[in-house]
């Protein structure tokens, strides 16, 4: 048995791939649900109704999808250029704490229209800086950025924990380590009254379209792709490899930082060390599920958010551990990898 590269890929195959992958993941996760002694179809139905069954749950799912779109884009942009940014989680937290600190101390009192964009810039900048360090280590010392970005996640989280237990600690929080609240003018406007859904969702979707445009219609988009597909070939063709990677890293780290900023300004209003239930790591799965397509990221983020919110509700009523959501999402990633492979190769005897 051997694999042979396909000459031609039909559009149908490309569109069907993620759907088949998700179905396969749901089937395997179904075995795990059955092993726990619960009816599988009822469990999936519960997941769906818990995620979209009411106005409250639907807005909650969309609120969860917003940061996932941004961290997903952060991973997708970087991976396309073969810059393995696994540090989304750390960049998310740095973006969140930078914005919270700036709002409480630097820009407090500024009107919303001025303050919010300024905080976006500050948060994105913080995320950028955290990714530029591993990129510099790669370009200067040829250190694999996978390991350094992963390790920096732990450093960033400890750094945030230090700040919210120290200089940025909210004195009114009864001793709990949490940052001071952001300025009232910095809170993002709601998309829907009486819900947690804020304009972050709109911003994330607009950015997804912007990135799609940049990747498909600009010179930089082509260069970043070339840097990923064949670095030495790209250099030969005149692509400034170092500069391209730096810009990619700034976009990727900036998006993850922005995700943290939007989460703290839109949802909580202050930073704790459980601000993110792994948004940075889930962003990687979202990007892979979307096959690195920026518009696909929006759909993949929606799927992932559905699983997480839905599994919470299903778990409460059926006694299946909520970790089934993480298992299903991880399985979707693995089956997506295999599915993409079979769109590129066929089996020959």
């Amino acid at each position: 048995m051997r694999f042979e590269r396909r000459e031609h890929r039909s559009t149908l195959l490309v569109v069907a791939t993620p759907i088949l992958a998700v179905i396969a993941a749901l089937a395997i996760a179904g075995v795990l649900i059955a092993a726990a002694g619960a009816p599988v179809f009822e469990a999936y139905w519960k997941i769906l109704t818990s995620a979209f069954g009411s106005r409250l749950s639907a807005t909650e799912t969309l609120t969860r999808a917003s940061p996932l779109i941004l961290t997903g884009l952060a991973a997708a942009v970087a991976f396309r250029a073969r810059l393995w940014n696994i540090g989304g989680e750390g960049q998310f937290y740095l973006g969140a704490i930078a914005a919270a600190a700036a709002s409480a101390h630097l820009f407090a009192g500024l009107p919303s229209l001025l303050q919010i964009p300024l905080l976006f810039i500050v948060g994105a900048f913080a995320g950028m800086v955290l990714l530029l360090v591993p990129l510099w280590l790669r370009l200067r010392f040829s250190v694999d950025e996978v390991v350094t970005t992963l390790l920096l996640n732990f450093v960033a989280l400890l750094f945030v924990s230090m700040l919210i237990d120290g200089v940025l600690k909210d004195p009114a929080a009864f001793g709990w380590p949490q940052s001071e609240a952001v300025d009232a003018a910095a809170r993002l406007p709601k998309l829907l009254a009486r819900s947690r859904l804020h304009i972050g969702l709109g911003i994330a979707v607009v950015i997804a379209f912007l990135i799609y445009f940049v990747q498909t219609r600009t010179v930089f988009g082509v260069q970043s792709r070339a840097a990923g597909l064949n670095p030495s070939g790209a250099v030969f063709a005149g692509v400034p490899l170092g500069r391209t990677l730096v810009i990619v890293a700034m976009i990727s780290g900036g998006l993850a930082g922005l995700a943290g900023t939007i989460e703290v300004l839109g949802v909580k209003g202050y930073v704790t060390t459980d601000l993110s239930p792994g948004y940075g790591y889930s962003g990687i799965v979202v990007a892979m599920l979307a096959n690195l397509n920026p518009l696909g990221v929006v759909l993949a983020a929606l799927f992932t958010a559905t699983m997480f919110v839905g599994a919470d509700g299903m778990s409460r009523s059926m006694g299946i551990p909520t970790y089934i959501a993480d298992v299903t999402v991880a399985l979707s990633l693995l089956s997506m990898l295999v599915a993409v492979f079979f769109t590129q190769y066929r089996i020959r005897r």
Binding site: F79, F141, V147, L150, L151, V155, Y323, L331, L333
Partner: protein, 314 residues
């Protein structure tokens, strides 16, 4: 200064060093052997988590401690098989596949744990490995408590590092592994099967990662809780580079690393209130990054690392 010296001169520090080093030694060896054959296994973090959980669960359900380690090895090997299918047979990106394996193995471990062990106020515990009493050696002043009060798996890990150093450098099996990691086409021309060798190295390496994780729950602590591996797997990946892909240096690197870790733990109590504890907790991760930056250029990377091998394809 005398406080620092007191820390270094205490037998307790050195006993802690070997205890902290053991899971790192085992998992680093696992990552190392698989990289020597040309496959980066970033599943390490999740595989350690799964090994920690499944080994503990076996003992909690009545198995003895050695059976627990064996179960952890088998659990690790299972995920090694998965990683092999994805990266060796299909030739997928080793980075992405490894991350997928980590996400799957750790979430699967948490799922199984929650399913088998109901939520309780205090986590259930088992009786872990006890320190071995070595006649003569354990009673020595200073050296006894410092180096000879470890549990059996620690000595096993050290022995294994030496055995693997010999295996890789001096035996035909080692030569076959190295050749597959340097130039699989040449290995095939010699009548070897690079695919089978990669499978073997990844599966064996993953079993070691599983055992490394299980040391945490069966010897260092006595219970399992989510996120207990705390990035140790990623640190091991850095240690492999630091060790320049040599088992004997991996042993040394892990011990050196554990020395810093044990030292900062003690320094933390001395300096508590002056320096935030988070600074100390950052040290291991920052140290790994620095070690990578210093060693990455000097280290001899296996030439075919991260390159999929397809028969008849160049």
């Amino acid at each position: 200064m005398s406080a620092l010296f007191d820390i270094l001169a205490s037998a307790g520090l050195w006993a802690a060093v070997l205890r902290i080093a053991t899971p790192l030694i085992l998992a680093t060896l696992g990552a190392l052997i698989s990289e020597r054959a040309g496959v980066l296994n970033l599943g390490i973090e999740g595989i350690m988590t799964f090994g920690a959980m499944v080994g503990w669960l076996a003992v909690y359900n009545g198995a003895d401690l050695w059976t627990g380690l064996l179960v952890a090895a088998l659990g690790g090997a299972m995920f090694g098989l998965l990683h092999s299918v994805l990266t060796v047979t299909l030739g997928l990106s080793q980075h992405v596949s490894g991350l997928g394996v980590t996400l799957f193995a750790s979430s699967f471990a948490y799922y199984v744990f929650r399913l088998m062990v109901p939520v309780a106020g205090t986590p259930p515990t088992i009786t872990p490995f006890q320190p071995l009493d070595i006649p003569g050696l354990s009673d020595l002043p200073f050296f006894g408590p410092a180096f000879f009060t470890q549990t059996a798996p620690t000595y096993l890990a050290i022995g294994l590092a030496i055995a693997l150093a010999y295996l890789i450098a001096r035996t035909p099996v080692g030569l076959a592994i190295r050749m597959t990691g340097e130039n699989p086409h040449a290995a095939e021309a010699q009548g070897l099967n690079p695919m089978a060798i990669r499978y073997g190295a990844v599966i064996f390496g993953s079993a070691l990662m599983g055992v490394g994780g299980a040391f945490l729950t069966l010897s260092a602590f006595n219970s399992f809780f989510p996120t207990m591996v705390q990035g140790r797997g990623w640190i091991c990946i850095a240690l492999v580079v630091f060790a320049s892909w040599k088992p004997e240096r991996a042993l040394l690197g892990a011990i050196l690393f554990a020395l810093f870790d044990a030292f900062q733990l003690r320094l933390q109590t001395v300096l508590s209130g002056v320096v935030p504890y988070q600074i100390f907790l950052m040290i291991p991760y920052l140290l790994s990054i620095v070690a990578l930056a210093v060693m990455a250029r000097r280290a001899r990377v296996p030439q075919a690392l991260m390159q999929p091998y397809r028969r008849g394809e160049r």
